[in-house]
C-alpha cells in the first residue's frame, strides 16, 4: 500500500512560501538571461516580451566593443591568484591559532575582523597613492595584492573555525607516530581540513570575482576585471539593456558554473563534524 502523505495546510503554505522566495531570488537572474538574447528594441518593449526569436548579436557586440576575453582573463587571474595567495597566508595563521592557542588569539581574531568594519572608501586615497608610487596602478599584481588583503580576515576566520573542529589529539597522535610537521600537515591536517579549505577558497574566489570597488578605482583598460567591463556599459548616452545583460551574463557565467561543480565541497565543508 503506498504511504499516504497528508497534505497538511502547514506543508502547503511552507511549500508555497519556499517557491515564492526562490522565484523572487531567481527572477532578476532569469530576466537577465532572457534580456541578453533580445534585441535592444525587444529589451525595452512594454509590455515585456516573453516570446521572441533569440539572437547572439549582443554577445558578438560585447566582444567587439570591449574585448570580453581580456577582462575575463583578468578576472580569472586576479581571483585565482588572490585566492591561492590568501590560502597560503591564512592556512598557517589559522593552524597556529586553532592548535597553539595563546592568551591573545581571540583578540587577534577580533582585530582582524575589525579591519573589515571600516568602509573601503576610507582607505581609498592612501591605497591609491601607494599603488601609484609602486607602479601597481592598472596592473593585475596590484589587484591581486588588494583582493588578497581585503579577503584575508574572512579567510583566517573561516579556516580557524574549521580547524577548531578538528580534535587536536589527532594531530598529536600523528606527532607521536613520528610525523614531521610537514607530514602532519600533508597527511592529516590537509585531508581533514580539505572541506574547510575548499569552501574558504570558493568563497574568496567568488568575493574576488565580484569585487568592484577596488577594481573600478585601481584598474582600467589593461588590468580591468569583468566588474569594470559591466560598469562601462552604463554610459552618459544611456543604458543598452540587452548588451548590458549580455555582458553581465558573460561575467557571472564562469563563477556560476564553478559554483555548480563545487557544491559537494561546499556542503562537505559546512558539515564536517566531530570524530568521537
Amino acid at each position: 500500500m503506498p504511504r499516504s502523505t497528508s497534505l497538511s495546510p502547514a506543508l502547503i503554505l511552507r511549500t508555497l512560501v519556499a517557491w515564492g522566495i526562490t522565484l523572487l531570488l531567481f527572477f532578476p537572474l532569469g530576466w537577465l538571461a532572457l534580456t541578453a538574447f533580445k534585441t535592444e528594441m525587444q529589451a525595452i518593449a512594454v509590455p515585456p516580451l516573453l516570446q521572441f526569436s533569440p539572437t547572439l548579436d549582443n554577445f558578438r557586440e560585447v566582444q567587439l566593443r570591449s574585448d570580453y576575453l581580456l577582462y575575463a582573463t583578468n578576472s580569472i587571474i586576479t581571483s585565482v591568484l588572490s585566492t591561492l595567495l590568501g590560502l597560503a597566508i591564512a592556512a598557517p595563521a589559522a593552524y597556529s591559532m586553532a592548535f597553539f592557542k595563546s592568551r591573545r588569539t581571540k583578540d587577534i581574531l577580533m582585530w582582524m575582523l575589525s579591519t573589515k568594519m571600516m568602509p573601503a572608501v576610507g582607505a581609498l586615497v592612501p591605497v591609491y597613492v601607494m599603488a601609484q608610487h609602486s607602479g601597481l596602478l592598472d596592473t593585475r599584481l596590484g589587484l591581486v595584492i588588494v583582493f588578497t588583503l581585503s579577503n584575508l580576515p574572512i579567510m583566517v576566520w573561516m579556516l580557524y573555525s574549521h580547524f577548531k573542529d578538528i580534535p587536536h589529539e589527532i594531530l598529536e597522535a600523528a606527532r607521536m607516530d613520528g610525523a614531521t610537521l610537514w607530514q602532519e600537515l600533508r597527511l592529516v591536517l590537509l585531508p581533514l581540513g580539505l572541506g574547510g579549505l575548499a569552501s574558504t577558497g570558493l568563497l574568496c574566489l567568488v568575493l574576488s570575482w565580484n569585487e568592484a570597488f577596488w577594481s573600478l578605482n585601481l584598474s582600467s583598460a589593461k588590468a580591468g576585471t569583468l566588474a569594470t567591463l559591466i560598469a562601462s556599459y552604463s554610459s552618459p548616452e544611456g543604458l543598452f539593456w540587452a548588451k548590458l545583460s549580455a555582458a553581465s551574463l558573460l561575467a557571472i557565467a564562469p563563477i556560476v558554473v564553478f559554483g555548480w561543480f563545487s557544491q559537494k565541497q561546499l556542503v562537505q565543508g559546512l558539515t564536517f563534524g566531530a570524530v568521537k
Partner: protein, 350 residues
Amino acid sequence: MAYLQLHGIEKFFGEHRAIKGIDLHIEQGEFIVFVGPSGCGKSTLLRLIAGLESTDGGRLMLDGRDITDQPSSKRDLAMVFQSYALYPHMSVFENMSFALKLAKVDPAVIRDKVERAARILNLGPYLQRTPKELSGGQRQRVAIGRAIVRAPKVFLFDEPLSNLDAALRGQTRVEIAKLHRELGATTIYVTHDQVEAMTLADRVVVLRDGQIEQVGTPLELYDRPANQFVAQFIGTPQMNVIAGSQLPAQPGWDLPVGGFVGLRPEHLSLCPPAQGQLRGRVELLEALGAETLIYVGTPEGAQLVARQNSRSSLKAGDEVGLQIDLEAAHLFDAQGRITRTGQAREALSH
C-alpha cells in the same frame, strides 16, 4: 640505571606551577600508573614525557639518551589517547600502519605486523573499515593496536578507558593487563580511577597538586600509606579518618595533638552497643552480596564505614557498637603526615 628517568621536571602554565620538580625512575618492562584527583597534573606529566608539552625545567632520560629537547616524533614513544584520536580519513589498517609507513618500513613487513596486532586485538575482520564504522570498544582497540605495531620504547596511556561503559571498561582493563604480560613493554598509564591503578600497576605513583605523594606497589600504598591523602585516595570505600578527640584514648597510641586516626573499613567490626570502643547508629546498609558495607554515625559526629564479609540483619536506625582493630589503625598528625603505620592482620600472618 633506570630505563626512563625524570629529574626535577617542572611545568608552568602562565603563573601556575603545574608540575613541581618531579623525580621518578622507571625500570624497563614496568607498568607504572599515575593516579590522582583531577587537576593533580597526571595528564600534564604524561604529555611532558610524550613531548606534547615542553618542560620548563629538569631532564628526561630514556634508555640512556637525553630526550628533554627532542620532538615527540623522535622520542619513539606511543600514546593511546582518551578520545582515541584515530585518523578519521584512514581505514583501520592505515591507522595502524601509519607510523610504520612514516618510518619507511617495507610494505610486506608492515602488513605482517599489522595483521599480527589485529589478531591479538581481534580486529582482523575490521581492517578495511573506517573508525566511523566501529563501536567505542573497537576504536579503543584500534588505538591500542596503533601503539603496539610500532613496538615503541614506552607505551603511554592517557585515561584510555574513561569513554567506555562500565562492563567494557572492566573487560578492556583485563585485556590491557594481559597484553602487558605478553609484550612486557614499559608502560605509563594515567587514570583517576584507583581501581584501575590497583589492578594494573606494578607501581603506582600518587600525585597531588603537581607533586608526587607516594610511589609504591598497590599493596604498599594500601597497607603503608605515606600520608592521609594517599591513605584516603587508595581503597574503596575510603579509609575512615576520625579526629583523635572523637575516640577514647587507647593504650600504646602516641597520638599527636590534633591528630587523626585512620581505619580501613575491614578493621572495624560491629558488636552489641555496650561493647566496643565506639557506639553509634546505623545510617545506611549496602548489601553487595559477598560483603556488606555498614555506614555508622557516632554521637560525636564521626561518620564511619565498616565492611563485613557476611550478610547483616541490621537496619538503618539500629544502635550498634564498633570494635576497632587497634593494631591496624594508622595515626596521622595534624598535617596529615603518618606517625604510626597500622599492622594489618594479613600482613602479620606471614
